[in-house]
């Protein structure tokens, strides 16, 4: 069987790629795609921890299911907001969204 560490390395790498993308990209849609990468890494984490831990306790699996259900809901609201901005302003690039500045 593949050791647990490999899964954790995979999920950490995915998480860091996602986090880098979130911080470096300027397009709201690209940021949301990177967010999905981070969510995926968490799901991998949870399922791997469940499989290598106490298999009889299903809370890891339940957690994973809840995580991707919530991720879907979150993406829906985020895309709706992005569309409403695009209709008014013809852009979803974070740098152009500068009506509010301190």
């Amino acid at each position: 069987m593949i050791p647990l560490e490999w899964y954790l390395i995979l999920s950490s790498v995915l998480f860091c790629v996602g986090l880098y993308g979130v911080l470096a990209r300027r397009n709201a849609i690209a940021i949301m795609m990177c967010l999905e990468l981070m969510m995926t890494s968490i799901t991998i984490n949870l399922v791997a921890f469940w499989r290598y831990g106490n298999v009889a306790n299903l809370s890891g699996q339940v957690f994973a299911v809840i995580v991707f259900a919530v991720a879907a809901a979150e993406a829906t609201v985020g895309l709706a907001l992005a569309i409403s901005i695009y209709r008014n302003r013809d852009t979803v690039v974070a740098n152009d969204l500068n009506l509010l500045k301190w």
């Binding site: 940021i31 981070m38 809370s59 957690f63 709706a80 302003r89 009506l99 301190w102």
Partner: protein, 489 residues
């Protein structure tokens, strides 16, 4: 944990939330059938429904005896959670009232329904004692709040602040979730008490735990807008519809604090030998208060001013937690009481801003000139709200700050108390500047009287009374906070 036996008592414990679902359905139904001016009634229905849920909660769901873990350990039915739930219900009801005459929102049934959904999420944040439930509740609140912030689709500012709120919130909550997944992995539990037990055994390395604590702090720090996760606050507060600013800055922030209490004080507590986050929290509390107050000095927009002031208030509340190690109960009860006073005061301030913006069409501080002549009552209530925010006796804000500083001093953290006291002086300065504009500066030529409609009168009078009562006859409320704090341990 036995998942198969749900007794009636379990459902009785979450009766207010069940009622809220029915109220949300009713409002959605009214949205379809009501026509014309009477659509405004949905605001009253929401407010009355939320208050009804509160009284039903007091009647049927009051936790008796020892705190119990219900629904397979996912929720903890205790006094602390109950007190916070009542606070959210009141905040939601007031928010519904002060929405009623806002253009583009007051006659939207879906707005009220999403508002109720956010309140349900917060209620579950207050009682969740399981990582899964906690995450679900946090996201129910957050996703509703993103939608509410961007609700005015035709307003560029509202949509932009909604997107910013969403991006910032989604990233921080994902980082927090990664921390949750590691916590589950290292302890094998999702229940907070199970985690505390597993950590108490001391099998998890200290460095790992601090890493996890920092990740979770990212998500919670965003919710309570603590430094360095406060950058979204002024933008979102300025761009969002003002009732939602009021709601996010009071209820949502308070919900963040109850999660902080549950996760850090129960799961990552000193009992399990991992209070390494305390120095970190100390630094965050001091810096958050200072940054909030200093940047507030330079603001010209009243909503941004209150945004920075709310950052500072989050810092004060965090100060109470810093004293947690030496006196856990006092620190939790001081924080709870402070949040009560803060909710009442800040909602009052935002209600006044909404009424003024409707009459004058502006949120700039300079336009508040001569408001005391245009509407003396509004000006007096604003004086009450701002002096309470500044912490002047005999108003609520003073007692709140008093209890916090007392806990901090009792814990021997004199430097932190001094930082807090200096900050209170700075804050007094910028609150009084606004009051000077309101009372001393002359009104612009031809400025009309400001009319206050019925729902706003109800909301503002109720809030003014509660600000004064919380400051003068605080005993019953503070006893609630103490009962809550003692039920936690």
């Amino acid at each position: 944990m036995d998942f198969t036996t749900f007794e009636a008592a379990h459902f009785l414990a979450i009766l207010p939330e069940i009622v809220l679902i029915a109220v949300a359905a009713l409002v959605m139904f009214m949205d379809v059938v009501q026509k014309g001016e009477s659509r405004r009634m949905m605001g009253y229905v929401t407010a009355i429904g939320l208050m009804a849920a509160m009284f039903i909660g007091i009647g049927f769901s009051l936790p008796m005896g020892d705190p119990k873990l219900l629904f397979g350990g996912t929720i903890r039915h205790d006094m602390l959670g109950f007190v916070f739930r009542m606070m959210f219900l009141v905040a939601g009801a007031i928010t519904a009232l002060i929405t009623m005459d806002v253009k583009g929102l007051g006659k939207r049934g879906d707005f009220y329904a999403v508002l109720i959904a956010a309140v349900i999420g917060m209620n579950f944040m207050a009682i969740a004692s399981d990582l899964i439930m906690l995450y679900l509740a946090i996201e129910t609140t957050s996703i509703s709040a993103y939608a509410l912030t961007g609700f005015l689709l035709n307003s560029d500012r509202s949509a932009e602040s909604g997107l910013k709120y969403f991006l910032f919130g989604a990233v921080t909550s994902t980082v927090m979730l990664f921390g949750f997944s590691l916590l589950y992995g290292f302890t094998g539990h999702t229940n907070l008490y199970g985690i505390a037990e597993a950590l108490g055994a001391g099998n998890v390395p200290f460095v790992t735990l601090i890493g996890i604590a920092v990740m979770i702090l990212v998500g919670i720090g965003f919710k309570i807008s603590a430094f360095p996760f406060h950058f979204w606050t002024p933008d979102v507060y300025e761009g969002a519809p003002t009732p939602i600013t009021a709601f996010v800055s009071t209820a949502s922030k308070t919900a963040g604090f109850i999660v902080l209490i549950r996760v850090f004080i129960i799961a990552l507590s000193t009992n399990s030998g991992v209070a390494g986050w305390l120095p970190l929290m100390m630094a965050i509390a001091a810096v958050t208060t200072t940054i909030g107050n200093l940047v507030a000095l330079a603001q010209t927009n009243i909503k941004r001013l209150l945004a920075y002031s709310s950052i500072a208030h989050a810092g004060y509340t965090l100060m109470a937690f810093v004293a947690f190690e030496s006196q856990p109960e006092q620190s939790v009860s001081a924080a709870t009481f402070y949040l009560m006073t803060y909710i009442a005061t800040n909602l009052l301030a935002f209600a006044i801003i909404i009424v003024f913006a409707r009459a004058a069409g502006s949120d700039e501080i300079k336009d508040y000139a001569g408001m005391s002549r245009r509407s003396p009552y509004l000006a007096h209530m604003m004086l009450v709200a701002f002096l309470s925010l500044a912490g002047i006796p005999p108003l609520a804000g003073f007692l709140g700050k008093f209890f916090i500083f007392k806990v901090v001093v009792d814990a021997g953290l004199y430097w932190l108390a001094i930082v807090g006291a200096i900050n209170a002086l700075v804050a007094l300065y910028y609150y009084l500047i606004v009051m000077k504009v309101v009372y001393v500066d002359p009104a612009p030529e031809g400025a009309s009287k400001i009319s206050i409609t019925r729902p706003y009168q109800i909301a503002m009078v109720a809030l003014t009374i509660s600000v004064i009562v919380l400051g003068t006859a605080a005993t019953p409320w503070y006893n609630w906070a103490i009962a809550g704090a003692s039920s936690l341990f």
